[in-house]
């Protein structure tokens, strides 16, 4: 271990570490633009300059690549340091006058306008992009080119790179936003979309699936993780202070002998782009109910604010379309059972968030059959500015001027075909048995019905018993149902299993 002082504070550090690292570990801030924890220090931006006193001699060094030594005295804010930094920043600001980060840094050192001639560059030549591409990604798709004033970051021959793997690390580390992936790669950059937020926002390859995940630990998506694809990167390892990243983890097969099985494999969402007339995927401001749920959720991508996809504006007029794929001879014949009520809930929530918001619900039959449901509908109409329109819209088009969706439908009372322009449309799509229902049923040799729900031979008198004794099914995997019905079935399945197990005794 090495003993030194930073700004008069005595600290100890491991041999071979750099001043910048030690200072950070001791909560002493040193500004830098080109340092990155995952990369070798480079000393390019020189912003991290500090003054050291070594063997009685004072001098300025870059702290990112100056190793600590015994008895070293470091000053991170001496007059000389500040003066040096000010000059560096003044030069940087002259080079990149439009980069907010540089503007802020300069301002914090009292520089509003540089004395030098202004250029219009965004790149500060810190080299982070090239370094990460080479050092961690093993690709070297970009590098410095030219000399002196001509020096810049570029791909070979200024053409979009074929070897670029499109990982985006360069853009990610760029402190000024100068790097644009589309200028570099020959591939089409595609974000990894968050499954939990139904594609509303991207996620990284290592991620926590959703805020209330249990257990709440990150997982690595091996399908897209660069390390699993190329063996490179491993940057996450550098950042995890707990040292918890384990690239060698494998799925574990747990064998358990059981006498009874309860199936509760739930539902998936029917892809509404199959209902072409509603324009999902084409009309930007048509979203699904689940996307809407994520949007209005405080832990969702917009932190509870409604922002329509086309321009992020808060919609004032919302349309909910019921039976999108349900009760439809071209799609699913059955009624998904829960959409009437969740649309109503969503409309109420929207109005609670934005009291001047108006929602229209286009429905076929308003199936409010549960406890207090009718009252709920009545309150939605009376207190939350919700209007129910009994009509099945024929199509949804887009107003090209403003991106507003237009809902075409038949006004039943006036018996005229009419349209309504709204700010956003929410499609309450059909719910379907989850894919895993099929997988597990195949495994257990359970029959599925026409709609891929688990078949219950005696639905009336044995509502949770499958055709195989000892196997029970509850919830959406056997029929569409809402929360209380699912809870009832879950308890019922447990009761039947308990009964079954008692018989075994």
């Amino acid at each position: 271990m090495v003993n030194l002082t930073i700004d008069g504070k005595a600290v100890t550090a491991e041999e071979g570490t750099y001043i910048l690292q030690v200072a950070r570990a001791n909560s002493i801030d040193i500004p830098t633009l080109c340092y990155h924890q995952a990369l070798e220090p480079f000393g390019a931006c020189r912003l991290c300059t500090v003054e050291i006193t070594s063997r009685g001699r004072k001098r300025l060094v870059t702290s990112c690549n100056y190793p600590v030594e015994e008895g070293l005295e470091v000053s991170t804010d001496s007059e000389a340091v500040i003066k040096g930094r000010r000059m560096i920043l003044e030069l940087l600001l002259a080079r990149c006058p439009n980069v907010p980060l540089i503007q802020e840094l300069a301002k914090s050192y009292g520089i509003e306008k540089p004395r030098f001639k202004l250029e219009d560059d965004n790149c500060i030549l810190c080299g982070l992009c090239a370094r990460i591409c080479e050092e961690r990604m093993g690709v070297s798709a970009i590098s410095f080119s030219g000399r002196g004033l001509e020096r810049k970051i570029d791909t070979p021959f200024h053409v979009n790179s074929e070897i670029c793997q499109g990982c985006g690390a360069c853009a990610f580390v760029c402190p000024t936003g100068a790097i644009k992936l589309e200028d570099i790669t020959a591939k089409e950059p595609r974000p990894i979309l968050s499954e939990f937020n139904v594609g509303l926002n991207p996620r990284s390859a290592i991620y926590v699936p959703f805020p209330q995940a249990v257990p709440k630990v990150p997982v690595i998506d091996r399908e897209v993780c660069i390390h699993f694809l190329t063996g490179n990167c491993r940057i996450c390892e550098n950042f995890c202070q707990a040292g918890a990243i384990n690239y060698d983890q494998e799925d574990e097969i747990i064998e358990a002998e059981v006498d009874a099985i309860i199936l509760a494999s739930g539902f998936d969402l029917y892809d509404p782009s199959a209902v072409e007339e509603y324009g999902y995927g084409k009309v930007k401001n048509v979203i699904t109910a689940m996307q809407y749920e994520r949007m209005i959720s405080a832990s969702g991508p917009t932190e509870g604010h409604l922002e329509r996809p086309s321009d992020g504006k808060t919609p004032k007029k919302l349309a909910f379309i019921q039976c999108v794929g349900s009760r439809d001879t071209h799609h699913k014949l059955y009624c998904s059972s829960v959409c009437c009520m969740h649309a109503t809930k969503e409309a109420i929530l929207a109005n609670e968030h934005y009291p001047d918001l108006k929602a229209f619900i286009f429905y076929t039959d308003m199936r409010a059959v549960g406890k207090k449901f009718q009252e709920y509908i009545a309150r939605a109409e009376q207190e939350y500015n919700v209007t129910y329109i009994r009509s099945r819209p024929s199509k949804i088009t887009e107003n090209p001027d403003n991106g507003n969706p237009i809902v075409w439908y038949e006004e039943t009372t006036a018996r005229t075909r009419t349209s309504m322009e709204v700010d956003m449309v929410v499609l309450c799509q059909a719910l379907i048995p989850s894919g895993s229902t099929k997988d597990i049923s195949d495994m257990l040799h359970l029959s599925l019905n026409d709609y891929q729900f688990v078949d219950i031979p005696d639905r009336l008198f044995h509502p949770v018993d499958t055709e195989i004794p000892g196997i029970f099914a509850c919830g959406f995997c056997q029929a569409p149902q809402d929360i209380p019905d699912s809870v009832v079935q879950a308890s019922a399945a447990a009761a039947r299993a308990a009964e079954f197990l008692s018989k075994e005794d």
């Binding site: 405080a298 968030h353 308003m366 639905r459 009336l460 008198f461 949770v464 029929a479 149902q481 019922a492």
Partner: protein, 566 residues
Amino acid sequence: MAVPRIGVFICHCGTNIGGIVDVPQVVEYAKSLPYVAHAEANMYTCSEEGISSIKHAIKEYDLNRVVVASCTPRTHQPLFRNACADAGLNPYLFEFVNIREHCSWIHMQNRREATEKAKELVKMGVAKARWLDAQEEFESDVYPAAMVIGGGVAGMSAALNLANQGFEVHLVEKEPELGGRLLKLNRIFTINKDPRELVESIVKAVAGHSKIRLHMPAVVKAASGYIGNFDISVDEGGKEVSFKVGVIIVATGAQVLKPELYRYGELANVLTQLDLEQRLKDDKLGEFQNVVMINCVGARIPERPYCSRVCCMTAIKNAALMKEINPEAKVYVLYRDLMTYGVEFEEYYREAKGAGVRFIRYTPSNPPQVIGTEKVESVRVYDELMGMELELPCDLLVLATPLISNNDSEELSKMLKVPIGDGGFFLEAHIKLRPVEFAMDGIYVAGSCRWPADIRESIAQGYAAASEAAIPLRQGLVKVEAITATVDPKICKGCGTCALVCPFDAIELKESEIRGLEGKIVSEVNTALCKGCGLCAAACPNGAVQQRGFTDMQLLSMVNALSGKR
């Protein structure tokens, strides 16, 4: 007592609270309160993350009291108490503050005042927390038997399931026959079979089960006690029978409304669906050519706003049957919304349509008119979808009426101390998450007495209730929340006021055996009998009797905190 170190956790509950109440401001405020050692905000305090945050903070800040300001203690209190226990803190050193149901949700239009109110509620919670004491829970045995009230399909399923699990069951049915409302039906929808032959096998299994003691015809006359220990008395054909059970399942069903609409009871050819089923069963229907059925008769109206869930299907079933009996007949179903939710119902509906039943939508603002003097001649209806008025010839008008609560529900509710909600149906502990439990421990509910349910749903609920009831039965003992009364024998003057007001005879005057007080007559609480109502504590003139978790000190501190006193 160690100096209180209170940790305050304030939940955003997504935007439920955070969207209205300025949570960071409340956190800052909480930090300024006496004895608060730590305060923080959580997105969801009940999440894995929130819980681990509580546990972490207990250790990190050496907390000895925890206050969570979030939703209602009626659902989440056990979760947070367990979190405290996991971190080594006695779970009774936890206090709940409700800033969602009691604040953000009811003051959505006034964020400033909602925030101020939240602060005050937190202040009161912190003031109470300062005086919390560690408590031990009392455990009591569960008598390993259940009573099921109601011998319909829900009750029988529950009884059979519990009996098959090996528990003794007392099944109390007021009619002389098992089967309930089902027996009155002609056919069962979606499978169109005679209910009697279907229910037969269940009845047989119930009647022949060695673990099931059938009380029939019988009504419950008295019930007292609590989870694990109910004393029941039933009137069984004039004879009083008493027994003991650990749990109770209420499955008393519902009845069908007889309407005062569409000239029912006045004209001979106006029937309810149930009447129709009876005629079909009795084979007394006679000739018919034009049948009109009207749905939502007496339902979804201001005085009875709910949808009774099963009537649409009944109408479709009988409409199809009419068509089957007389394919030449014209059968119309006048409806408002067709509640054919799910898979089978929707199919069944399509089949009926395919069989030629005509469905016509009407609106309540423009209801069907019955034409005829001696009998119904025709029905005039405005078809909303066609946009025209129709006059339908009619020689048989059938009204689909809702299920309404049974007349004896109210009496039962008072006897068992379980609540009744809208429409006279029993009120479950949580409408979504605890559908077959009552808020009172040890009592469960299933079937149409809770809410109109069809056979499949009633049976599932019967099983579900059995599943919940089996938990304490299997565990064999229950823990009593440590909110029971205590007596300070030094202060007690033995006046017996507490004993007089105790509804459970849990307090007795006894000679003290405590050293220094030998021979002094003082009150003593039998914790096994005490239900934690606190009547005694309120009646005690000098504060010798206290209710744990609701002591004078704790309540007064809250009142003082609200008044700006510290």
